[in-house]
Protein backbone atom coordinates (compact mmCIF):
# COMPACT_ATOMS: atom_id res chain seq x y z
CA UNK A 1 0.00 0.00 0.00
CA UNK A 2 1.30 3.40 -1.08
CA UNK A 3 -0.18 6.57 0.34
CA UNK A 4 0.55 10.23 -0.34
CA UNK A 5 -0.29 12.90 2.21
CA UNK A 6 -0.42 16.68 1.89
CA UNK A 7 2.12 18.07 4.35
CA UNK A 8 3.73 16.25 7.28
CA UNK A 9 2.87 12.63 8.07
CA UNK A 10 0.97 11.68 11.21
CA UNK A 11 3.51 9.05 12.22
CA UNK A 12 1.67 7.52 15.22
CA UNK A 13 -1.54 7.18 13.20
CA UNK A 14 0.22 5.52 10.25
CA UNK A 15 2.44 3.14 12.26
CA UNK A 16 -0.56 2.08 14.35
CA UNK A 17 -2.90 1.63 11.40
CA UNK A 18 -0.37 -0.48 9.47
CA UNK A 19 0.37 -2.62 12.55
CA UNK A 20 -3.36 -3.21 13.09
CA UNK A 21 -3.98 -3.95 9.42
CA UNK A 22 -1.55 -6.90 9.52
CA UNK A 23 -2.28 -8.09 13.04
CA UNK A 24 -3.92 -11.31 11.84
CA UNK A 25 -1.53 -11.95 8.93
CA UNK A 26 0.91 -14.03 11.01
CA UNK A 27 3.96 -11.90 10.30
CA UNK A 28 6.77 -12.24 12.84
CA UNK A 29 8.60 -9.03 11.94
CA UNK A 30 7.45 -5.45 11.23
CA UNK A 31 10.10 -2.83 10.46
CA UNK A 32 9.07 0.72 9.66
CA UNK A 33 11.66 3.29 8.60
CA UNK A 34 10.59 6.84 9.54
CA UNK A 35 12.31 9.80 7.86
CA UNK A 36 12.17 13.16 9.64
CA UNK A 37 13.28 16.58 8.40
CA UNK A 38 16.46 17.67 10.18
CA UNK A 39 17.14 21.20 11.30
CA UNK A 40 20.34 21.89 9.35
CA UNK A 41 21.86 24.68 7.29
CA UNK A 42 19.20 27.05 8.55
CA UNK A 43 16.32 25.59 6.52
CA UNK A 44 12.73 26.10 7.69
CA UNK A 45 11.68 22.80 6.20
CA UNK A 46 11.58 20.80 2.99
CA UNK A 47 9.02 20.65 0.23
CA UNK A 48 8.32 17.73 -2.08
CA UNK A 49 6.99 17.18 -5.59
CA UNK A 50 5.84 13.61 -6.28
CA UNK A 51 5.15 12.10 -9.68
CA UNK A 52 2.56 9.55 -8.71
CA UNK A 53 2.22 7.33 -11.84
CA UNK A 54 5.88 6.28 -11.87
CA UNK A 55 6.09 6.16 -8.08
CA UNK A 56 3.15 3.74 -8.13
CA UNK A 57 4.74 1.46 -10.72
CA UNK A 58 8.06 1.54 -8.86
CA UNK A 59 6.24 0.58 -5.65
CA UNK A 60 4.20 -2.15 -7.34
CA UNK A 61 7.37 -3.65 -8.85
CA UNK A 62 8.94 -3.78 -5.40
CA UNK A 63 5.84 -5.39 -3.92
CA UNK A 64 5.95 -8.07 -6.62
CA UNK A 65 9.65 -8.63 -6.04
CA UNK A 66 9.28 -9.33 -2.31
CA UNK A 67 6.00 -11.28 -2.51
CA UNK A 68 7.80 -14.62 -3.15
CA UNK A 69 9.67 -14.03 0.13
CA UNK A 70 6.33 -13.77 1.92
CA UNK A 71 6.89 -10.07 2.61
CA UNK A 72 4.53 -7.09 2.31
CA UNK A 73 5.57 -3.46 1.81
CA UNK A 74 3.86 -0.21 2.78
CA UNK A 75 4.93 3.33 2.12
CA UNK A 76 3.74 6.85 2.94
CA UNK A 77 5.24 10.11 1.65
CA UNK A 78 4.46 13.78 1.95
CA UNK A 79 3.59 16.20 -0.85
CA UNK A 80 4.27 19.88 -0.35
CA UNK A 81 5.81 21.45 2.75
CA UNK A 82 7.14 19.60 5.78
CA UNK A 83 8.77 21.65 8.54
CA UNK A 84 11.89 20.73 10.52
CA UNK A 85 11.30 17.93 13.06
CA UNK A 86 8.23 16.79 11.14
CA UNK A 87 8.27 13.50 9.19
CA UNK A 88 7.89 13.13 5.43
CA UNK A 89 8.55 9.46 4.71
CA UNK A 90 7.68 6.05 6.12
CA UNK A 91 8.61 2.77 4.45
CA UNK A 92 7.70 -0.49 6.15
CA UNK A 93 8.11 -4.20 5.62
CA UNK A 94 6.23 -7.09 7.19
CA UNK A 95 7.60 -10.62 6.85
CA UNK A 96 7.31 -13.99 8.56
CA UNK A 97 10.96 -14.00 9.72
CA UNK A 98 13.42 -11.32 10.73
CA UNK A 99 16.17 -11.89 8.13
CA UNK A 100 13.91 -11.11 5.17
CA UNK A 101 12.56 -8.01 6.92
CA UNK A 102 16.02 -6.66 7.81
CA UNK A 103 17.41 -7.21 4.31
CA UNK A 104 14.30 -5.92 2.56
CA UNK A 105 13.97 -2.66 4.49
CA UNK A 106 17.56 -1.75 3.69
CA UNK A 107 17.30 -2.49 -0.03
CA UNK A 108 13.86 -0.89 -0.33
CA UNK A 109 14.93 2.36 1.35
CA UNK A 110 18.17 2.59 -0.64
CA UNK A 111 16.42 2.01 -3.96
CA UNK A 112 13.78 4.53 -2.96
CA UNK A 113 16.50 7.13 -2.49
CA UNK A 114 18.02 6.33 -5.89
CA UNK A 115 14.90 5.83 -7.99
CA UNK A 116 11.63 7.17 -6.62
CA UNK A 117 10.33 10.12 -8.68
CA UNK A 118 10.25 12.65 -5.86
CA UNK A 119 11.93 16.06 -5.86
CA UNK A 120 13.08 17.86 -2.75
CA UNK A 121 13.28 21.59 -2.15
CA UNK A 122 14.74 23.53 0.78
CA UNK A 123 12.39 26.07 2.33
CA UNK A 124 14.32 29.24 3.15
CA UNK A 125 12.88 32.68 3.78
CA UNK A 126 9.67 31.67 2.05
CA UNK A 127 11.51 30.42 -1.05
CA UNK A 128 11.45 26.87 -2.45
CA UNK A 129 14.95 25.94 -3.65
CA UNK A 130 15.62 22.67 -5.51
CA UNK A 131 18.16 20.59 -3.53
CA UNK A 132 20.11 19.72 -6.66
CA UNK A 133 23.43 18.91 -4.97
CA UNK A 134 21.69 16.31 -2.75
CA UNK A 135 19.73 14.76 -5.62
CA UNK A 136 20.59 11.62 -7.57
CA UNK A 137 20.17 11.12 -11.31
CA UNK A 138 17.91 8.13 -11.97
CA UNK A 139 19.66 5.08 -13.52
CA UNK A 140 19.70 5.62 -17.29
CA UNK A 141 19.59 9.41 -17.05
CA UNK A 142 21.15 11.42 -19.85
CA UNK A 143 19.51 9.44 -22.67
CA UNK A 144 18.39 12.54 -24.56
CA UNK A 145 21.89 14.02 -24.54
CA UNK A 146 23.63 10.79 -25.56
CA UNK A 147 25.06 10.06 -29.01
CA UNK A 148 23.58 6.55 -28.82
Amino acid sequence: MLELHDGALNVPEILTRWYASESASNYGAYIPFVGTVRDEDGIEGLSFDVYEPILTSWFDAWSAKVAPLGATLKMAHSRGDVLVHESSYIAAVFSPKRRVALETIEQFVEDFKASAPIWKYDLRAGERLYARERSTAIAGAGLLGSEQ
Binding site: D49, I54, S57, W119, T136, A139, L143, L144
Partner: protein
Protein backbone atom coordinates in the same frame (compact mmCIF):
# COMPACT_ATOMS: atom_id res chain seq x y z
CA UNK B 1 1.65 14.80 -31.98
CA UNK B 2 3.30 13.80 -28.69
CA UNK B 3 3.38 15.75 -25.45
CA UNK B 4 6.49 16.38 -23.39
CA UNK B 5 6.20 17.10 -19.70
CA UNK B 6 8.97 18.43 -17.49
CA UNK B 7 8.71 17.07 -13.97
CA UNK B 8 9.75 18.52 -10.63
CA UNK B 9 12.09 21.49 -10.62
CA UNK B 10 12.40 21.93 -14.40
CA UNK B 11 9.35 24.11 -14.20
CA UNK B 12 8.38 24.32 -17.88
CA UNK B 13 4.90 24.03 -19.33
CA UNK B 14 3.96 20.97 -21.37
CA UNK B 15 5.27 20.99 -24.94
CA UNK B 16 3.67 19.32 -27.95
CA UNK B 17 5.50 18.31 -31.11
CA UNK B 18 5.61 15.85 -34.00
CA UNK B 19 7.99 12.95 -33.37
CA UNK B 20 8.26 9.37 -34.55
CA UNK B 21 11.06 8.29 -32.24
CA UNK B 22 12.62 9.61 -29.07
CA UNK B 23 15.57 10.71 -31.22
CA UNK B 24 13.33 13.40 -32.74
CA UNK B 25 12.50 14.65 -29.24
CA UNK B 26 16.19 14.66 -28.30
CA UNK B 27 17.10 16.69 -31.39
CA UNK B 28 14.43 19.27 -30.63
CA UNK B 29 15.33 19.66 -26.96
CA UNK B 30 19.06 19.95 -27.70
CA UNK B 31 18.33 23.15 -29.61
CA UNK B 32 16.62 24.56 -26.57
CA UNK B 33 19.14 26.59 -24.53
CA UNK B 34 16.98 26.44 -21.42
CA UNK B 35 17.10 22.63 -21.49
CA UNK B 36 20.90 22.37 -21.75
CA UNK B 37 21.39 22.28 -17.98
CA UNK B 38 18.88 19.43 -17.59
CA UNK B 39 19.31 17.15 -20.56
CA UNK B 40 22.29 15.15 -19.31
CA UNK B 41 20.81 14.44 -15.90
CA UNK B 42 17.21 13.57 -16.83
CA UNK B 43 15.73 10.10 -17.13
CA UNK B 44 12.99 9.69 -19.73
CA UNK B 45 9.64 7.90 -19.53
CA UNK B 46 7.20 7.18 -22.33
CA UNK B 47 3.65 6.80 -21.07
CA UNK B 48 5.01 6.51 -17.52
CA UNK B 49 7.49 3.72 -18.26
CA UNK B 50 11.21 4.52 -18.15
CA UNK B 51 12.94 3.91 -21.48
CA UNK B 52 16.57 3.29 -22.41
CA UNK B 53 16.78 3.79 -26.19
CA UNK B 54 16.56 6.81 -28.48
CA UNK B 55 15.03 4.46 -31.06
CA UNK B 56 11.92 4.04 -28.93
CA UNK B 57 8.99 4.45 -31.35
CA UNK B 58 6.41 7.09 -30.55
CA UNK B 59 2.74 7.14 -31.50
CA UNK B 60 0.23 9.92 -31.72
CA UNK B 61 -0.83 10.91 -28.18
CA UNK B 62 2.20 9.47 -26.40
CA UNK B 63 3.34 11.27 -23.26
CA UNK B 64 7.08 11.76 -22.78
CA UNK B 65 8.23 12.72 -19.27
CA UNK B 66 11.61 14.13 -18.26
CA UNK B 67 12.65 13.22 -14.73
CA UNK B 68 15.48 15.30 -13.24
CA UNK B 69 17.63 14.01 -10.33
CA UNK B 70 15.51 12.80 -7.42
CA UNK B 71 15.70 13.03 -3.65
CA UNK B 72 12.76 11.54 -1.80
CA UNK B 73 12.61 10.77 1.87
Amino acid sequence: MVTIEFLGPIGRPILTMEASTLRDVAEALKQDAEMAQWIDSCAVAVNDTLVASLDTLLSDGDKISLLPPVCGG
